[in-house]
């Protein structure tokens, strides 16, 4: 049922948000169970855990390869369904000695809501956009 709820939305809820969602259908469920099943589902490859932004982790019901865009102000995450060509994995492998398993592009920006409201929020994202904007 956790999986169902996660697949039902196209947002990227945190464990806590999912807890609230699932609890509407399963009022006695506990947060611990949410976390435990989120782990299981992640390891089973049914969902994706998104580690970025704040310490809080978000989850993605879609495992199909796609990238994300994160609002540097409110931490909201949206999907960036766009194809990015990166075929330099082998080179990185040589340069770093790592065995590369994959890669993920994260775009940073301001979501429509934060973009419109110029007023400062409780905590302005202290983050400076990390990305080099390389042009072709």
């Amino acid at each position: 049922m956790i999986l169902e709820e996660l697949r039902r939305v196209d947002s990227h809820p945190s464990a806590d948000e999912l807890y609230l969602m699932v609890r509407r259908r399963l009022p006695r469920i506990s947060l611990g169970t949410i976390y435990r099943n989120l782990d299981i589902l992640t390891e089973a490859g049914e969902i994706r855990r998104i580690d970025s932004g704040s310490t809080l982790k978000r989850f993605d019901g879609t495992t199909a390869p796609h990238h994300h865009i994160r609002c540097v102000r409110c931490d909201r995450i949206a999907d960036a369904h766009i194809e990015v060509k990166i075929d330099i994995d082998e080179r990185i492998q040589r340069l770093t000695g790592f065995r590369i398993l994959g890669h993920h592009v994260e775009f940073l920006g301001l979501c429509p809501r934060c973009h419109t409201q110029p007023a400062a929020q409780p905590s302005l994202a202290p983050e400076i956009p990390t990305a080099p904007v390389t042009r072709t």
Copy 2:
């Protein structure tokens, strides 16, 4: 002095590791001060905060544009000094409604150490980052 220590290494220490490093020179410094200054330095654009992997955040003394590669097993981070061409910011902007500020590519893989040791470790010692994992 925090900045000095961070710039001295080419690893990506956590606040706690930095605390241990700095404390060798400033024995009375507190963790709170480390965090506070790390925030200031990040907002000033002197360093970069890396949000990925575990809940723990790591810091990068280099602000020059580059990407990272993270070991999915031990969470170690190395630099991927390689140019990635991405020329689709405007398209993402249209598709998502976000105002794009930048992007960052994260490669995932196994670091040389974890790659060699197939056995799973309970919790890899969070060694003080003096030894660089890789150099470029």
